[in-house]
Assembly symmetry: C2
Amino acid sequence: MPAAPISLDVALEQVGAEIDRGFDSLLAIPPDARAPLFEAMRYAAIGGGKRLRALLVVAGCNLFHVARERAIRVALAVECVHVYSLIHDDLPSMDDDDLRRGKPTLHRAFDESTAILAGDSLHALAFQVLAEEETHEDPFVRSDLILELARAAGPAGMAGGQMMDLKAAEMRLDLASVTRLQQLKTGALIGWCLEAAAIMGRVPPEGRRSLRGYARDVGLAFQIADDLLDHEGHEEKAGKRVGKDREAGKETFVSLLGPDRARLQAELLVDQAVEHLAGYGAEAGLLRAIARFAVERDH
Amino acid sequence: MPAAPISLDVALEQVGAEIDRGFDSLLAIPPDARAPLFEAMRYAAIGGGKRLRALLVVAGCNLFHVARERAIRVALAVECVHVYSLIHDDLPSMDDDDLRRGKPTLHRAFDESTAILAGDSLHALAFQVLAEEETHEDPFVRSDLILELARAAGPAGMAGGQMMDLKAAEMRLDLASVTRLQQLKTGALIGWCLEAAAIMGRVPPEGRRSLRGYARDVGLAFQIADDLLDHEGHEEKAGKRVGKDREAGKETFVSLLGPDRARLQAELLVDQAVEHLAGYGAEAGLLRAIARFAVERDH
């Protein structure tokens, strides 16, 4: 039976606590010279972030009545990749950020080499968590989750999008190019969250079209919302440096469309995302709430 | 039927060419802004290195008559991880090396951000290659290869060893600590090469003891040989900067044992490694030759 509907705030809080517990047990500090590496991973991974990707996994798994503890393992894997990507993106040679989730970035709090290794370690741990039998007893499911995550995180996905983003300051991107960049940089991993839910639910590839459409629209809506947040410049609420795209001369949805049309576009995408869920009933309530959160959250 | 015995030189050359072809097809340059990322990966991955890890996989797979093209896919995965680790280890905030495999390191030839992303991309590609059906039709085999690789590459293996190595200059390590450091930093991935061969050969875990012993001894012997190379200081033959451990005040097998006893220890380890193969016949010829190569190669 589907659980009674809960508010988005409560759902985010619950998933956040479960992910924190997952990291706490995954990252137990060893009694040797690797301790600083684990301390660094804990600093970056525990107690921060919206856990949007984790919630997308859990909300997607709700559709198919996947056991909660399994859904949380899959969610932990995507948060491993997300946190690793934030650590590496913040490095001096990349975006050179000092602030993340309201506290000093990892290379500021520790040092650069530890930050690189902490990112690399979380990257490997994501695949380890998925490959363990506790995630699913069927190795085909585990292998499929891993194949799709490797594609979403690698050069055909997130890492490729970050490369495009680094080159974006030197180029004048048009709307199609910014869309493509963001579909790789952030969209691929968000897409994986729903793909993973479908894999855990044993939905065959041909039955995943609506979830893929939902993920694509929600991913872009969140990116536009992030661009608006950056444009409006509330550093305190964002928990990170804002206005940096403009400084760097990078085109964003807001620079190309203007803030009003960008906001309208995000709302349109959210409506579209919700329409993709038409085939699902009350069990998709959380996914609908997440979509609306993209444009309704307190900037 | 086992293939006729071939010399180690020929075997290394053959595997090297196959790995280069594998990278060439894996890293086809896309017609978009990600091109520099793929060019960087190709620069680091193609046409360099001894391909020792790839050869260990292939030689191990020979024991169990694994199809050559499958063995090469598994070998490609371990070379992806090895190359990624070299790229990241060479970074300015890590070992800060300018020379690798006789040419400028990746962050020198390209830039630091591209080097970080190229390493991250190769890391993801390793898991992608293993998760693809072409590697093995049984998803349990694929999932098992991935689980063991994630453990070997992550904080309980290679990344953890690199962390220990970064801290080594500040500590006075004893022989046990240097051994432990190297077993994580280089031994875990070398161990995976033989573990992967056993997994591909469907050898149950209890039947892998001798191969694990072989891998442990060969891994340490190669590390001692590397320390000797570094100590003797032939930069040209090493294809990388030498003498840096001494400069950094790091203890090595050579600094702790002296060069003569270190060489003797390596020879002892090679004998032990070969003894672990006593249960295998002529089909283990290549593994025996690889072990002897550790102490016989032209320093």
